[in-house]
């Protein structure tokens, strides 16, 4: 049997359809207009350096049923509007619609003035002050915290250091064990001298990070994605959604050098967190000190944070109230797939509301 059996009629049809979509798509791209970065209205309630703390506003008529506010801590890599990328694919909106009171940290764009900010400053400085602001505004002693990816690692460490301020912890696609077998990203950095790299580069360029992520699947992400993009080009809405993702993917801030160096050395290379060897500032970070309820949300087809990397949290937390939620999708799909808004925010909201007074 031959692997190739070209059919003239199918080729002709494919070529005609491809050409039509491409032509329509070029016109659609010209008429696209501005691409939004976030759709849910918010108020900036606190600023410090480049950090802004957003307090999101629920739609009119939506009641905030959970009086314990939640703080969303996004990663330093990429921008947080992924969680609010479009009207029908917004995790933030989903949480608001399900009665949560949502705050989010926007880290801004680091520059050379941030070169020497370390993890202690980010966690025990910025995050801690944001938590205090929310506690003061809400009158609550403890708040809920939800961390995304690297933000989840930060949230986990923060909870371990400041358990007295946290009511419940939610981690989403969060790496805890950085040396699981299928963690390609971790393998790539094992032989890199981080001290030398950061000393030479200062801050780490967001463009270099993008290149690294794209190189995990170069044939698909550098080539096939743009060939197959034509399939959606004739649909203005679908094309705009594609372009929103494209904008987000390549909108990567530079990474503050010291924090980046510490994160890669202590977590990726030395795996200190899961080995109970991590110290941040004056705190020993021990996962067993996390005694509040924990919900660990992971994606079954996550190529960036393989499930075992997230699931390692189960055996390490001191909390007796630990649950997992598996989303059948990828690292990004957990936010932007069509199923995500129906599954993820309702699950998280229901869980948080049950754990909050």
């Amino acid at each position: 049997m031959s692997a190739i059996d070209l059919k003239a009629d199918k080729i002709a049809e494919e070529a005609a359809v491809y050409g039509q979509k491409l032509a329509a798509g070029i016109q659609n791209m010209k008429e696209m207009g501005e691409i939004s970065s976030g759709v849910t209205p918010y108020e900036v309630v606190y600023t410090e350096d480049k950090l802004r703390l957003f307090h999101y506003k629920a739609c009119e008529g939506t009641k905030t049923t959970n009086k314990t506010p939640m703080l969303v801590v996004y990663a330093l890599v990429n921008r947080p509007y992924m969680t609010d990328i479009q009207e029908d694919r917004s995790t933030i909106k989903g949480l608001l619609d399900n009665g949560q009171d949502v705050y989010l940290i926007d880290w801004g764009y680091a520059d050379r003035a941030d070169r020497f900010l370390d993890l202690d400053y980010y966690l025990n400085g910025y995050i801690d002050r944001c938590v205090d602001v929310i506690r003061e505004r809400s009158g609550k002693e403890k708040i809920n915290i939800l961390g995304v990816c690297q933000g989840g690692t930060f949230s986990t460490c923060y909870t371990a250091m400041h358990q007295d301020k946290i009511n419940a912890l939610v981690t989403m696609v969060t790496p805890i064990d950085f040396k699981t077998p299928r963690n390609v990203l971790s393998k790539w950095v094992q032989k890199v001298d981080m001290d030398a790299l950061v000393d030479a580069m200062g801050n780490i360029s967001g463009d270099d990070l993008n290149d690294t992520f794209v190189n995990m699947s170069p044939y698909s992400l550098k080539l096939a994605k743009y060939i197959n993009m034509v399939d959606v080009m004739d649909n203005p809405e679908a094309l705009k959604n594609f372009m929103r993702m494209e904008q987000w993917i390549f909108d990567s801030p530079n990474q503050a050098g010291e924090a980046y160096k510490e994160f890669l050395k202590y977590f990726f290379q030395e795996n200190r967190l899961v080995n109970d060897e991590l110290t941040i500032g004056e705190y020993d970070v021990r996962l067993k000190n996390i005694t509040c309820p924990v919900l660990n949300v992971y994606a079954s087809k996550d190529h960036l944070v393989p499930p075992p990397a997230s699931l390692a949290l189960a055996d390490k937390v001191g909390s007796k109230d630990y649950e997992e939620f598996e989303f059948k999708g990828g690292h990004i799909g957990i936010y932007v797939s069509s199923r995500a808004p129906k599954e993820v925010p309702p699950t998280i909201s229901k869980w948080l509301s049950s754990k909050s007074k």
Partner: protein, 327 residues
């Protein structure tokens, strides 16, 4: 299966050109030095000596006479038209123009050609700099004279750049190897497709299958120890090179009395420490106030609201009194 593609001479021609470039430059510089020592030109006629040196260099590059007024333009034209001719030859050899073949024959022949081309990279003796490093000799000589520190700095920069090139070559050899393996996996699929595989009926289907197979081969290599080492070595070599480049840049900035990166980093370090100290003091102050039971000062906006409200109340009372008075 025999491939009709001749092994590329592009890399050898490139090396020959580089060699000719450096040899002609060195010869021209020797002539310059000799002419200067032998007082061929009157004292102070530096411009004439320099002109002669460049003309000789370019003539050596081009193989033309020193009186050719357009040899710079000719040099560029030769380089580009040579490169263009080579490219067109390569395309013709790949496409096998004029030959009628079935799609799978074409795909397999193309695969064989790629195999040969990538094999040339893989089987080479390493980075070209290993066989011909024109500035290595100069970079190895210790600096002399008042500018010796600068000479040593530039020599070190060159050495680090050269090492980076060599290490990068190893990385790209690895990528070439994977390109070949992906190619072979694709050929295997074409020759022996899985029993349950549907035939590929359109160019898009062929393309998507090629992507899938190639990605699988690449992913396996990307997770390997070999890749980890090659990648790490390349990044580390680049860091070393960039670090030295920063020193050179700082030295130039310093000469122009402009702030250097080192100085700015020092300032940022001080400021970061001050911010930390400031935050720690604020926290301590807050704790002390809490311990003393001191009330938190009302924020300015709220204070303004209270003042306005108080004034409104006073005004209301005054009006009421006035009205009563009128009675």
């Amino acid at each position: 299966m025999t491939a009709s593609f001749n092994k590329s001479t592009t890399s050898q021609e490139w090396m020959d050109m580089q060699k000719r470039y450096m040899e002609s430059l060195i010869n021209a510089q020797n002539t310059f030095a000799n002419n200067s020592m032998n007082n061929k030109y009157p004292f102070g006629n530096y411009q004439r000596r320099t002109d002669d040196m460049f003309q000789q260099w370019q003539a050596g590059m081009m193989g033309g006479g020193m009186n050719n007024p357009n040899f710079a333009a000719d040099m560029f034209q030769q380089q580009f038209s040579n490169a263009g001719r080579e490219f067109m030859d390569s395309m013709n050899r790949f496409n096998g123009s004029g030959q009628m073949k079935t799609p799978d024959q074409l795909a397999m022949e193309w695969g064989a050609k790629m195999h040969d081309m990538l094999g040339e990279i893989m089987n080479s003796n390493g980075c070209p700099l290993n066989s011909f490093d024109p500035l290595d000799f100069l970079a190895s000589i210790p600096g002399l004279g008042a500018s010796r520190e600068k000479q040593e700095m530039l020599a070190e920069l060159y050495k680090r750049w050269s090492y980076f090139q060599q290490v990068s070559f190893v990385y790209y050899q690895g990528m070439a190897k994977i390109g070949m393996e992906a190619n072979m996996a694709w050929s295997d699929y074409l020759i022996n497709p899985p029993e349950d595989a549907e035939p590929l009926e359109t160019p898009r289907e062929i393309f998507n299958m090629w992507v899938r197979i190639s990605e699988k081969v690449y992913s396996k290599y990307a997770a390997s120890e070999e890749y980890m080492n090659a990648y790490g070595n390349m990044i580390n070599a680049y860091s070393a090179y960039k670090s030295q480049l920063n020193k050179v840049a700082d030295s130039v900035m310093d000469q122009f009395n402009l702030p250097t990166r080192t100085e700015l980093d020092s300032v940022h370090k001080y400021v970061t420490q001050l911010k930390k100290d400031n935050a720690a003091m604020k926290k301590e102050l807050k704790e002390i106030k809490a311990a003393l039971g001191l009330k938190k000062k009302a924020p300015a906006k709220e204070a303004a609201k209270k003042t306005v409200a108080a004034k409104a109340t006073t005004a209301k009372k005054t009006n009421t009194t006035a009205k009563k008075g009128k009675k």
